[in-house]
C-alpha cells in the first residue's frame, strides 16, 4: 500500500505520572484489557513535571494528538502538583487553539491506579476523536531539529 492509500492511524503522545495514571495503564495491561494501540506513553514522575515544551515538541514532531494524565485532584503523590498541571494545560490549550490547533487534539485525563478499565476506555475514545479530526501534519521541520542547511549559492 502506498502512503496515500493507507488508512489514517493517529499518533498520540501520552504523558502519564508515575504514581496513578501510569499504573492505571499498567493495570489495563496486566488485566489484558484491549484498547487502541495508538498512544505512545511517556512516564513522568508527576503530571506537574509536564513542561508545555514537551507537548509543543510532540506536535511539531508529527503527533496528531496529546494526552496528559495524572492523579485525580487531591490525590497527587506530591500533594498539589497535578493542580499545576491542570493550570498549565488550560493555558496551553488556549495558546494552541489560537494557533489553529483543534482543541479536540488535547486531552487531560485523571486516572487512579485502580482505574485501568476507565483509562483503556478513555484512550480508545480519544483515539477515535482524533481519528475523526484527521492527520495534523504540523510542519515537521520545526521539531527542535536543526533544518538542513543548503550550501549552494547562486552568485
Amino acid at each position: 500500500m502506498t502512503e496515500e492509500t493507507k488508512p489514517f492511524e493517529p499518533v498520540i503522545i501520552g504523558f502519564t505520572c508515575n504514581w496513578c495514571s501510569y499504573r492505571a495503564a499498567d493495570m489495563a495491561g496486566i488485566a489484558r484489557m484491549k484498547y487502541a494501540p495508538n498512544v505512545r506513553l511517556i512516564r513522568l514522575m508527576c503530571s506537574g513535571r509536564l513542561d508545555p515544551t514537551f507537548v509543543f515538541k510532540a506536535i511539531a514532531g508529527g503527533a496528531d494528538g496529546v494526552l496528559v494524565s495524572g492523579c485525580h485532584p487531591g490525590d497527587c503523590h506530591y500533594s498539589t502538583q497535578n493542580y499545576k498541571a491542570m493550570r498549565r494545560f488550560q493555558l496551553m490549550k488556549r495558546v494552541l487553539t489560537q494557533m489553529g490547533l483543534e482543541p479536540g487534539r488535547l486531552k487531560l485525563l485523571w486516572a487512579s491506579a485502580a482505574e485501568g478499565q476507565m483509562f483503556a476506555n478513555e484512550i480508545t475514545k480519544f483515539v477515535e476523536e482524533v481519528r475523526a479530526l484527521g492527520p495534523l501534519n504540523w510542519n515537521k521541520a520545526g521539531a527542535g531539529i536543526p533544518v538542513e542547511v543548503k550550501e549552494e549559492v547562486t552568485a
Binding site: V55, Q90, V95, Q98, G142
Partner: protein, 327 residues
C-alpha cells in the same frame, strides 16, 4: 584598498532599528572604522550586490546580519553573505527568532497580503496586487517572491553567533566590537561557535530591581488600566511580564521604567521554546485549583499567543499557526 579586515552589515525583513543601535555606540564607531574596511552596508553606504558577488569566499571578516527571511531576495543575500563571511552574526531579534515581522506567521500569506493591500489605511480602489514579474516594452521586471512563512536566519544558513535584542543594546554592541577587535589582534579569544554574544546567561528577572515576594495571582490585568506599584514585581501584581523566560542583557530596562518585559531579548539560556516556558511560569503562579475559576483568571490574558510569541514565533518549535502552513 587597505589590508584591514572587512566589515559588512545587512538588513533583511527588519525595521532599521538595529542599524540605529549600531550607530548609537557613538564614538566607538570610529574604532570600527579604524579596525575595519566597511565594504557592504546598504543603510550607510552605496554598494551593490555584484560587489559582494565579486569577492572571494570568506573575504569579509565580520558580517552583522539583521532581519528575518521574508522573501527570496533575503534568502539569496543571506546565502551570499554566509559564503563571503568568516564570522556571520545573527544580529538582533528578527534574524535570531523572527521578531515582529515573524508575527505574520500567525496568518496565511494571502491574509497578510490582503491586510497590506485592502485594509482602510491603503488607497487601492482597483484592488490591485503586486505581481512578482511584469513584462514591459523594455523587458521583464521582477520583484522578490514572498515566503509563505517568515524564517529565521539560522533556518536558512549556518550562523556563527547570535546577538539577541530588539534592538541589541548599544553598550552590548560596543562590547562585542571591542571583543572582535581584540580577537583580531590576538589579545582575546572568540567564544565557541553557536554562542549567544552581547547578552547575559540568565533572565531579565535576575537584573530587575523590583522587589519579589510570593507570586500568587487571582487576576491578570493590563498595565495601562492599573496603578502599578513602582517597587513590586510586576508579575506579582498580575501584570503579564515576560521577564521569567527572557534572556538578560538589557539591564531590565522596561521593568525599571515601569513597563512589563515584552521579551525582546528572546529565550533565556536553556529555554527551548520561549512561549512554552512562559505558559509554565504564568500558570504556576495562578492561585486557584478550580478549573472554572482558572478559566476566569486566564480570561485576563487577552491574547496569550501574542503575549508569549511576540518576538519568538518564527523561531519557536511550532514556527507558525496552522493556517500559515496551509498558505
Amino acid at each position: 584598498m587597505s589590508n584591514k579586515p572587512k566589515f559588512a552589515m545587512y538588513w533583511a525583513a527588519s525595521c532599521g532599528g538595529c542599524e540605529i543601535a549600531v550607530l548609537n555606540i557613538h564614538e566607538k564607531i570610529l574604532d570600527v572604522d579604524a579596525a575595519f574596511d566597511v565594504v557592504f552596508w546598504p543603510v550607510a553606504m552605496d554598494a551593490k550586490y555584484k560587489d559582494v558577488e565579486a569577492m572571494q569566499d570568506g573575504e569579509i571578516t565580520l558580517c552583522l546580519f539583521n532581519g528575518g527571511m521574508r522573501n527570496d531576495e533575503n534568502e539569496h543575500i543571506a546565502k551570499l553573505l554566509r559564503k563571503k563571511s568568516k564570522i556571520m552574526v545573527s544580529f538582533g531579534s528578527c534574524a535570531c527568532e523572527g521578531c515582529i515581522p515573524g508575527l505574520a506567521n500567525f496568518s496565511a500569506i494571502n491574509e497578510v497580503v490582503d491586510t497590506a493591500f485592502t485594509t482602510i489605511t491603503t488607497d487601492n480602489p482597483d484592488n490591485l496586487r503586486p505581481q512578482t514579474s511584469y513584462t514591459m516594452p523594455e523587458g521583464i521586471i521582477t520583484i522578490p517572491t514572498l515566503n509563505p512563512m517568515l524564517k529565521t536566519l539560522d533556518q536558512v544558513v549556518d550562523v556563527d553567533y547570535y546577538m539577541p535584542g530588539c534592538p541589541p543594546e548599544s553598550h552590548q554592541i560596543a562590547a562585542v566590537v571591542d571583543l572582535v577587535i581584540a580577537a583580531l589582534n590576538g589579545k582575546a579569544e572568540l567564544p565557541p561557535k553557536g554562542a549567544t554574544i552581547g547578552a547575559g546567561n540568565s533572565t531579565v528577572c535576575d537584573e530587575c530591581p523590583r522587589k519579589r515576594n510570593v507570586k500568587s495571582i487571582k487576576e491578570f490585568g493590563r498595565i495601562q488600566l492599573m496603578h502599578a506599584d513602582p517597587e513590586l514585581c510586576l508579575l506579582e501584581q498580575g501584570i503579564p511580564c515576560n521577564g521569567p523566560a527572557t534572556r538578560s542583557g538589557c539591564t531590565a530596562l522596561c521593568p525599571s521604567a515601569g513597563a512589563q518585559c515584552i521579551g525582546c531579548y528572546g529565550p533565556a539560556e536553556g529555554v527551548v521554546d520561549y512561549g512554552a516556558r512562559l505558559i509554565s511560569a504564568f500558570a504556576s503562579v495562578i492561585d486557584s485549583d478550580k478549573p472554572d475559576e482558572i478559566d476566569k483568571i486566564l480570561d485576563g490574558l487577552v491574547d496569550p499567543a501574542g503575549q508569549f510569541y511576540r518576538f519568538n514565533l518564527a523561531g519557536s518549535l511550532l514556527r507558525s499557526s496552522k493556517s500559515a502552513q496551509k498558505g
